[in-house]
Point group: C2
């Protein structure tokens, strides 16, 4: 799916690319409202698996209502965290038994930062991150640090260069989002992990804007800890449980900070004292979010069938095409790319700038294109590779072009500014 | 609803009590499968609000599928944690603005224990609890203690007497389940809190087997911190988010241990540093479990309309009747009460013993009565006061009586032992 042929891109070219797309049938596995809306908001909330409404109706009627007493034994409620993790593991470059779904990303970040802190080499006192990291990633580290008190320091680097400069023998762990939530800029996980290893520091990766869009290879790239949002590219539903992964060498190294009963080695022994389960399972906390898990599980069953190499190729093809079309169709209207052009340096979304970004996003919504506005002047198009086509990209850019060409976004009714 | 009239209780008496029940119409607000099954498992998973299937179908179609981009702004997804808390607050004796729904009970326990630790008087080093407390309540305290390390001690008392004896000036906080998950024995919150206050210790209450069954008065009884399961008596659905309450005097006293972005004073400022929100809201962590919240919210809208005094009177009437009928109908078959007879000393369920308990629960299931077995020999009937009637209690005990009288439970097919 090479979109970099000579001459201007055309809709016919997009149709040809779609006809040759090996993942084209996955589109049917997601719900469509038949409205012709084009959803570029995988960075916010991914599309709904088509089976969700029926599956959840059956859950309510057959599991909760008719036989709920059987729940904890008769249904796979307590197995879901492992099953979901196993279904997503190949997208992360992880073994199926090393990933679980539970809690939210902030809570899972606390767990892995605490585990990294426990596993740090003697004498280390710094957690190093970027000032531009997603806010909760910074806040959670700060909160943990305040609880630890003396002997903990959180360092915020102002740039990637500064971060690498400060990555020295004082650093316990470096905590990074693999893909920046604003620019979509991607870290090189292999090189960064290697740099950290050279100085004996551990790496904590937040994969929220990467997994389900670009290939992640936690094991191959030498990562130590990772968390991932379940509701963006992974399509697990608004507020879905999050994924957590710990390299096997660290899994049993420390007592979990949130030592809840679901992480006990023998949950239904109701033992008096905690005995952590072996492996990633000890990071489970309390009762799983059974209903939310059921929805996320539906998504994971789709992803289980996806070859990550094909996913990445499709995502790249759509992203390259979007950039090319933004240049070709909208460049003269003041649209400027805000994400790396090089595929290896970007993640799940494409961000571009225009002074009227807030109003343009509203005008796009009316034109049935769903993107997201990020203050002060950016528009993000999050690319869901399993349900978007090259023709979708073409059509969306044409609608954007019309809004810009006709200056439709200047209409006062689009003044409402979203966040 | 006084069930303690002279002579043996009769079905006619139960019918009369139901006719006079001021809460009888609430039964219609819960789903029924029309099977005639009687659910005594509110201690495990409470009944499903009747609106849930339709409401969730609409959620999937209108919110997630058709317009998900509008979600974080256009729908009340981020308001739900507060709205749900406010709807349940009167059941807890709390102000509406002091309760929120989020995470699970284990995670919320960690938060309040950490907050209690931060708020403890100088020089205190002990968390005091019961050895018979619900396992996760002990494990979470232990996990926190191991993270704190030196200067922390977890003390497990072998009896309530021993606990009160050990409640001295060394104790930072006493962590108790208001109602015991096995025996249903209830602590006297007012007296225990007063005892703790005398020695300057803080109180942390887990209300999971109490709220929605007996009146709780956190403010009136002098509690400091509380958490509550959302899926038992409160009927929020399997694995529902949990409630958390902190006395206003402690809410702003410390940095939350899980300082996630939803607890920031200005969530969408995407500020570089964490600035905790004022009040209980700072205990929010990451993105709310939107789908699970929607279900719990449906339950909270029922409870919002319930007068806690009427709830307690109805629950007491059903519990007193169950005890009376177990004596009257099943006493000769070796059934022994395992919960306090006195209403003020018990919580949401009635536990009773029989050597064949495991098989009896299975035989009851076949007879369309849903209870739960607890090793080695106990049966628990959790009483959902909003959807059970006195006639249900009568009919359930008659079915139990028949199983015992005919020794039906000895049938080998009931040997399957549930947990």
């Amino acid at each position: 799916m090479d979109t970099r042929v000579d001459g201007p891109a055309t809709r016919a070219m997009c149709e040809a690319l779609d006809a040759a797309d090996p993942l084209r049938d996955f589109r049917q596995r997601f719900a469509s409202d038949g409205s012709g809306r084009i959803y570029f908001d995988a960075n916010s909330v991914g599309a709904m698996p088509a089976t969700v409404p029926e599956r959840m109706a059956a859950f309510f009627e057959q599991q909760w209502m008719q036989a709920r007493r059987q729940g904890w034994n008769g249904y796979p409620w307590l197995e879901r965290p492992r099953q979901i993790g196993a279904n997503f593991a190949h997208l992360l470059g992880a073994a199926p038994e090393d990933v679980i779904a539970c809690d939210n990303t902030s809570v899972n970040l606390l767990k892995v930062l605490a585990a990294a802190w426990a596993a740090r080499p003697h004498g280390r006192f710094r957690i190093l991150t970027e000032r531009s990291n997603f806010p909760t990633d910074i806040y959670i580290a700060e909160g943990l640090g305040r609880f630890i008190g003396e002997g903990f320091e959180l360092v915020l680097a102002d740039s990637r260069e500064e971060l690498l400069d400060r990555l020295d023998e004082s650093v316990a762990a470096v905590s990074l989002s693999l893909v920046d939530y604003r620019s979509s800029e991607r870290w090189d996980m292999a090189r960064t992990s290697a740099r950290a290893r050279e100085v004996g520091a551990l790496t904590v990766w937040d994969l929220s804007h990467a997994a389900g869009a670009v290939r992640v290879d936690l094991m191959g790239d030498g990562a130590d800890f990772a968390v991932c949002c379940g509701y963006k590219y992974l399509c697990g539903g608004p507020g879905a449980p999050s994924l957590v992964w710990i390299h096997p060498r660290h899994q049993n190294a420390s007592w979990p900070l949130i030592a809840g009963w679901m992480g006990h080695g023998d949950v239904f022994a109701f033992a008096e004292r905690y005995q952590p389960a072996t492996g990633i399972v000890r990071q489970l906390t309390g009762t799983p979010a059974v209903i939310a898990d059921e929805v996320l599980h539906a998504a994971s069953e789709i992803w289980r069938d996806v070859d990550p190499a094909l996913m990445e190729a499709k995502h790249r093809s759509l992203g390259d095409l979007l950039i090319r079309l933004l240049d070709q169709e909208c460049g003269t209207f003041g649209v400027e790319l805000n994400s790396p052009r090089e595929h290896a340096r970007r993640g799940g979304h494409i961000s571009f700038r225009h002074p009227g970004a807030g109003s343009i996003v509203e005008a796009l919504l009316e034109a049935r294109v769903v993107g997201s506005f990020r203050k002060p002047d950016s528009i993000r198009f999050g690319i869901g590779a399993l349900y978007l086509s090259h023709v979708d990209v073409w059509d969306a850019v044409q609608r954007l072009r019309a809004i810009l060409a006709e200056e439709r976004w200047r209409d006062p009714r689009f003044k409402k500014v979203s966040v």
